[in-house]
Symmetry: C2
Subunit: 651 residues, 2 copies
Amino acid sequence: MVNENQHTCSASSSSKSDGGSSSGSESSKDSSRCSTPVLDAERHERLREKMRRRQDSGDRWFSLEFFPPRTANAAVNLISRFDRMAAGGPLFIDVTWHPAGDPGSDKETSSMIIANTAVNYCGLETILHMTCCNQTKDDITGHLQKAKRLGLKNIMALRGDPVGEEWEEEVHGFNHAVDLVKHIRSEFDDYFDICVAGYPKGHPEAESYEADLKHLKEKVLAGADFIITQLFFRPETFLKFMKDCQAIGITCPIIPGIFPIQGYHSLRQLVKLSKLEVPQEIKDVIEPIKDNDAAIRNYGVELAVSMCRELLDSGLVHGLHFYTLNREVATTEVLKRLGIWNEDPRRPLPWAVSAHPKRRVEDVRPIFWASRPKSYIYRTQEWDDFPNGRWGNSSSPAFGELKDYYLFYLKSKSPREELLKMWGEELTGEESVFEVFTCYITGEPNKNGHRVTCMPWNDDPLATETSLLKEQLEKVNRRGILTINSQPNINGKPSTDPIFGWGPSGGYVFQKAYLEFFTSSEIVTALLKVLKKYELRVNYHIVNVKGQNITNAPDLQPNAVTWGIFPGREIIQPTVVDPVSFLSWKDEAFALWIEQWAKLYEEESPSRMIIQYIHDNYYLVNLVDNDFPLENCLWQVVDDTFELLNSPPQQ
Amino acid sequence: MVNENQHTCSASSSSKSDGGSSSGSESSKDSSRCSTPVLDAERHERLREKMRRRQDSGDRWFSLEFFPPRTANAAVNLISRFDRMAAGGPLFIDVTWHPAGDPGSDKETSSMIIANTAVNYCGLETILHMTCCNQTKDDITGHLQKAKRLGLKNIMALRGDPVGEEWEEEVHGFNHAVDLVKHIRSEFDDYFDICVAGYPKGHPEAESYEADLKHLKEKVLAGADFIITQLFFRPETFLKFMKDCQAIGITCPIIPGIFPIQGYHSLRQLVKLSKLEVPQEIKDVIEPIKDNDAAIRNYGVELAVSMCRELLDSGLVHGLHFYTLNREVATTEVLKRLGIWNEDPRRPLPWAVSAHPKRRVEDVRPIFWASRPKSYIYRTQEWDDFPNGRWGNSSSPAFGELKDYYLFYLKSKSPREELLKMWGEELTGEESVFEVFTCYITGEPNKNGHRVTCMPWNDDPLATETSLLKEQLEKVNRRGILTINSQPNINGKPSTDPIFGWGPSGGYVFQKAYLEFFTSSEIVTALLKVLKKYELRVNYHIVNVKGQNITNAPDLQPNAVTWGIFPGREIIQPTVVDPVSFLSWKDEAFALWIEQWAKLYEEESPSRMIIQYIHDNYYLVNLVDNDFPLENCLWQVVDDTFELLNSPPQQ
């Protein structure tokens, strides 16, 4: 293949890169440098640019619509669903705006906070819906300012359903979506990408289909960037609408809204709300099977797949928008059958990136939060800018207080009963705790037959690369080296390696072996003796809950433990062992013993006192083997430690 | 060995590193981080701290005194001598102050500018002498401000010799060195380290030896940090003086001034100036051999070695200060025989560091100036701060104008006649130029029997690692690929490797293969065709004198081509191919054809027109092979290019 990237620049050393991509972005600095120092260009583009790039490249895409949940538990489940569906590679998701549900509030179930979670914690490009009728200018401006502050970059501007039967236009008020579009553009200039709704059959309240098309054109002229349509049942409905739009000069992207029928009742409800009519041929199929959910869903998937195929084959449609009703199965199946569910194993960085604009240049994090990325994002959300290249260059990182926690700290995703089954209804000693750690590593059921699928220190199941260390990890956990984080050493694997790879192709990735664990002071004493003979080959930080800190690091510099070398780039070092933030992590890591584990048991109960004892007396240890080209020596360190403990005391 | 570095920190995450070293330094920022992000702690210490560290560790050291030269040519020679003597590892050098020679001016021979060159361009810790008698406060303050601005951190405060026979004290003037010490401390606080002179036999003008000791104590009390003594001829003179100083409470370091006798006349002159008496036993040896320079020098070396041994063996002396008289041989021999000439092959970074305080954190440079480091330092001297870790983070680097050049640009170190012998009295075509490049690479004499030991693009002879590429370089230069910079690829050699290593031990260093050359547009056309098939494996930047720039780099990011991984550190990437500064280098690289080479010949002469033609029509090319773990493909690229040129044109 010929490299098409070759280009000719002007002679001036202050010339802008002609590949510059983030025009109009608030974070692009005035510099001769290209504003994309990180690895993936798309991370720096706004949604309308991503859409254009996909259209130009011919890559088909999809997006997913969700509504805000009613309860905190439902919110936790929805966020897990975001993470799972993010794996398929949606171009964006959107979150609807429910005026009755206090949508702009700080409640964990509000539209605003759910959209905030999607963009910041799940790394999803997100559109927040917003309706305007019956609201003051100040309220709306306040919502928009808050959305901007939270890192939201896209608004779906809607009129919303009027309250009460008889609705009258307010003079100087927000009576139509176009008023909201104008308001956003006048108050926030080009900051937001704006989406508006299109009605393939015309808005039910419009005078006519033609009049509605004119309203749509007004919204686009007022500054909307693209259109998502209301659901429809026949592909020709959309294709005619699209041609009619083009005929009156609407040139922006128009994305068909796809509703896979998932059940009789949800269909009836949606149809009622949207004032649409279900075609007779669909009614004929559904009515006879209306009590058979599985049959209806199968039919819905078939219907959606065939409609989507027809749309895509027309050549006019590049992306499909799915009304998921917060469900997963039907939409995922349609996408898989269409071949646009794209589980790309490549990662831009070893950790999941956030989509907040100010985090676009973030390219280094301490390794400690590797299994609790959401907690890390939460505790660093107030940072003004993110360490870019050198961690040590940033001023001392101030981490959010533990008491601030909301969704990612105090609550385990699993209910108490399930946790007790996994972590033990009753603990008989420290060995019971060793057993829990061991079962988590091995995947074997505990003595009551339950598998341990999560631990307080892990948002997610064991990573593949950790599984590679399973045998050694099992051995040491059984003896009271309670591991919570580890990685093997890697001496230059291709960046496309399915397990260790990250970043663009053509590069090489490296790791230093890392091991982090809780253990008793007796083991720490022996460990320190053993570590002396490894000198600077092994860097260690050993700390207890009171903050007593033992280290051989010569100063407070971070130790890079994951890095990558890529064509035409500076070196990227996305993971470091940072001695300063280790002390913040220490507070969190020790608190999790109490908050997630000890509190499962009655106060004063023996089980609780065992966890409390560990919390009060154990040390948190991290070890780095700096000699990454040699065989990982950390297992030898641990073996030597146990051997020293077992040897008779010297006189 | 046991690592003694283990220490216990406080629990607070904002605690200062207890290894912090640059207290009182103007550049230490208020941060919880240790202020030594670069690799060698000593680079961050002030002179008195370095002295203390050596005293504590028991490592013996030496320092060297020079006087300013009389002519610009002598300045060039002196700077070369600095570089050569820097190899032995002096703790510092000092430059004397000659009131009659306009010592604070911008002349290339002034004390100020010679000290500036030593600190900035030779990377030497430097003390600038300064005398105060017959000068106004304002003049002195002006000199000190200028010294500070140039990066000088140490002053030797002297009275100086009064002008005229009869000298009278001025009321409120600077009458004694102590006045200057007080002035420096009052105007510049703790910024400068201050040295004062001690007289082992008493100052010739002092009322008595005891009175002179009291004056010395006054200077120390006024703020002097250490003492260097006047020369003396017997070790017991110094040892007695030292004990007498200690007896009256002088506790700062006292460094003996050593004068190796190098000739009869220089001895007589110095003795006259310093009003010292040469002991009879020395006179007895010297007088009979006074016309035999070699014999006197041998005797001088013997005498100095034996005296220094006695001083060091006393246990009271840790460092020796040498009055070199700007000569090299005798002092070097004494130091080598004492075993304190320490040619340490280890480099803190792949390039020679500057000793200016604001450059202490400098840890990355573009590769282009690798063979012209002084030019790079000169052209970046106005930068406020230095790229620290990420080159790309700095704002667009503005390089000093070429016309600003003085010592490092227009002048070659060699005289015109010598250059003509090396580069050709008469050129007959481009091939004559190819021949010059080839002879420089191979070390073979040219057709007139002269070796080519320098080129306009190289401050120094060919580096050892370049020699390793000699065979390939010879082949391509012969055919018109005129190489000026190259490095082989390295996939993880120990940081102690004698050729490629740099930084502290225990690390690993890496390189991407790099090749930079001038070549004709015909070769560039073929090269571009060949490069297409290498895609992103090879990054290239190709530019002509007019600034036409062809590259396959996707944006203006730097490409790291040398990096190192060390225990407990972030990754250091000291050398990058930076597309923006390449355009500044291009101007310099092309201008050198004209300024250093073409101008050797008469205007309108054929030789001059050949160089002018190359300057106007050739391209400057740089190539990076990003696949550093594989065999360097750049030679294959060049071979393919020649093959393409030799193949019959396709119809």
